[in-house]
Every structure is written in C-alpha cells, then in structure tokens.
C-alpha cells in the first residue's frame, strides 16, 4: 500500500504551520522561539563573553558553542533523561557546523557566543526548528552574520517524497527516510545534510529539489519575526 495521503492531510510539499518570535527571553542578549506544528524550539543567545576553559580561547576569532536539550516529557515516548546525551552532543555539534559558515566572529577574539536550545515539545524535526530559531536569535543578538540559515527536513515515506516529516511519518511502517537540511538563503549553500533510513539516488535528488522552495517559506517566517520585533507599530 503506497503512502498517498499524508497523516495530517497536508500536500506532499506543504510544511506544518510555522510561527516564530524574536526576543522571547528579555535577560538573554538575543532570543527566539520557532514553532513548526507540534515542535517548539526556544533559543537564547549569550555573548560574546569571556571563554572558559581558557585553553579553548582562540586569539584569531571567537567560538560558537551550541547546547541542544530536549525537555524530559517533550516527546511522545518515554521520559528523556535531562542533561546531555550522545544524541544531544551530536546535534549540538552539527548545529555549530550548520551556523558557523555565516557567522563572523573575527571581531571577538578569545570570546565565546553561547547558544542554548530548549525543546519543550517535540514531534520530529527538532534540529531543523532549533537551527531556524538559532539563526533568528543570533541576528537578534546583533552577531555579525553574512546571511540567514533556514532549515527543514524532507524525506520519503513509502515511495512518496514529502517535506517536513512529523513523528508519525518518521515511524511509518514501511521504507522511510528523513533528511534534515539547512541552507543559506542567498547562495543556497547546504550547511547541514543528514539522513536516516533508505532512499534511492533518484528520489534523493528529487527530495533536495523539494527542499529549496521549502527553505524560502521558513525564511519568510524568520524575516517576519525579526522585523516585527523592531517595527514601530508594535511599540504602541
């Protein structure tokens, strides 16, 4: 039985309803929330500030440090142990690599920019929501950035190419693949590309084509969030 109708009645290339807000944490230097369907990411950025341990300091440029964390009852499965895990460390690392190409920390030698990501509720696509939110938060913090990073997952569920998979689709009985992608907006350079599952070569290139227009939709949401925070009308 082929997967013809999506579990939540979306079109194959339709994303989950998204919303984003900048400046959600007043005490942070920059912050943002990004909601895609039932997945919520909240990001706080602190810095540039003094980097400890000192041996990590780089006199040529600042360091970007991500801390990804899912909350204990955020998923639909069992309780997640708070604190770091192998998975969280990996995602923190790929997030750093996804964001670094656009961030310019040459002006801040020996310092660090800390990015804290919390996920109060998750339904697949957490690293994509986290990267999209982190990009807004870093811009809000006034860190010099060449471009914005948008991120979304694409994949294949039982032979059908779909965008922005939910947890129900990721765990669909059958052959499924989930490909989180992050890209810069202007040049469409890929800064994150991972895959879980199985996909044919032809389907992979088709899926990557689906990703590009999806990125633009995420970018629209990110841009609106940043401009809304500072527009004069919202201060009245």
């Amino acid at each position: 039985m082929a997967y013809t109708k999506r579990l939540d009645d979306r079109q194959n290339d339709e994303l989950r309803p998204m919303s984003a807000k900048a400046g959600v944490i007043p005490n942070a230097d920059g912050s943002a929330s990004f909601i895609a369907g039932k997945t919520t990411a909240i990001v706080a950025v602190y810095g540039p500030r003094e980097l400890f341990p000192k041996f990590k300091q780089n006199p040529k440029k600042g360091l970007l440090r991500c801390h990804y964390a899912m909350m204990p009852f955020s998923g639909s499965g069992e309780r997640i142990r708070p604190g770091t895990s192998r998975r969280a460390q990996e995602i923190s690392m790929v997030m750093e690599h996804a964001l670094l190409p656009v961030i310019d920390l040459k002006e801040f030698p020996n310092s660090v920019v800390d990015v804290y990501i919390q996920l109060p509720q998750t339904d697949a696509g957490t690293r994509c929501a986290a990267i999209s939110a982190a990009s807004i938060a870093l811009a809000d913090a006034g860190i010099p950035m060449k471009d914005m990073i948008s991120s979304v997952a694409v994949g294949q569920v039982d032979g059908t190419i779909v965008a922005d998979l939910s947890y129900g689709e990721e765990s669909y009985p059958g052959i499924v693949s989930d490909i989180p992608i992050a890209m810069t907006h202007n040049t469409k350079q890929v800064t994150l590309l991972q895959m879980d599952g199985e996909i044919t070569k032809e389907d992979l290139s088709k899926a990557l084509e689906v990703a590009k227009p999806a990125m633009d939709k995420v970018y629209e949401v990110q841009m609106k969030a940043l401009k809304d925070k500072f527009s004069v009308e919202n201060k009245k």
């Binding site: 980097l51 811009a139 006034g142 810069t184 202007n186 401009k227």
Partner: protein
Amino acid sequence: MSELLKKEREIVIPGEILAKGMDFLPGENSYRENDNIYSKALGLVYVSGRVIKITPLSGPYIPMVGDRVIGRVTDITMTGWRINTGIAYSGILNVKDATTRFIKKGEDLSKIIAIGDYVIVMITQVTSQRLIDFSMRDPGLKKITGGRVIKINSHKVPRIIGKQASMVTLLREKTGCDITVGQNGRVWIRGTPEGELKAARAIKRIEERSHESGLTKSMETFLGGAQ
C-alpha cells in the same frame, strides 16, 4: 544599472540585498559579493552619497579609544585595577592614570578604589587582541559614590543623550538627578530615591521606543511637570 533596493531607515536582517550594481559602496556592517551589496547585521539602512551602511539595533559594545564608559572593579593588580565594562574583555586602569597623588611603595590600593566599586573611565588604548587601557585623569572621570547604575543596550546610548544632549538635559531637569551615560550602555543616576526611580523608568522607556520619531516631545509629556 545600479539600483538601491531599500529605503532610508528601513529595517533589514542579515543577508538582505541592499543595492544592485557597482555604483554603491558597502559601508559599516555591509559587504559586497559580485554585483550586490548585502547587509551583515540586523539594523537600519543609512545612505550617505554612494555609501550604504547599517546602524545595528542590537549587539555587543565595541570598545573605542576616547569613549567614556562606566565599569566595575573586579581585581587589584600590582600596578592598578582590572575593570569590567560588561563585555567579553576587561581592561586595566594603571595607578599613574588613576590619580595624581603620590603612592608609597606597598600601599594598599583598595584604600583608593576597592573591588566592587564603579568608576567612570576613558578608554585610552585598545589592541587587536582587545587589551584595553583606561584613564581617570580627565574632568568628570572618577569613582562613583551613591546612586544606582542601570544597564541598557549600548546602541541606544545616542538616543538617551539626544541631539546636543537634549534628552539627558530634559531627564536631569525633570527628575532632579545627576545622570552620567557611559558609551558601554551603563547609566549612573544619583538623586532622591523617587527621582532615581523615575529616571530609571524613563531611560527604559527611551530604550524601548528608541526608533520612534519625536521622542523628546513624548518623553516630555511622560515625565510631566517638574519633580
């Protein structure tokens, strides 16, 4: 053909195209790639002649020589004080730049300025590695006594001061407080407790509404009559 794509004072986000063509030049917080000029920060667009620059709306304070800043003493060294101005880099205030008085060998420096004291200092030198030197030997530079220090976004400092210091003069008159604004976004207020609270609230309001036009007028009504 060259074309400017953004209006003056429009809000742009990082990576937005500001102008097409070679007739424009990238200024502060913008860069050229091929034919286009892109923004490098979240801020407002300003065009002066051919140069396009972005004035950031947020971000860290960048230390500049000649800036007067308010900092907190965090350590006492052999030859002076280490001062934190609220950024990633602390600076040194040398004894010879702090006072004209003769200091005996082995004298307790904490008698002059103690750890935890706030000081108004001027930046005299910044190296590429952001080693900062301070001086306290100009009029107005001193150790802070009494009052309170509040923190604001350093990019809003010009609005707190206003054109020809119009805003800060208004705040001083209406609240009866001494107000000193450091370029690093720390503001020292000293006056009566009620006056200090009123001034702190007014400064927070200016910070929130910094890109409204006619701000001095609206602050005049907010502050009401004389205290």
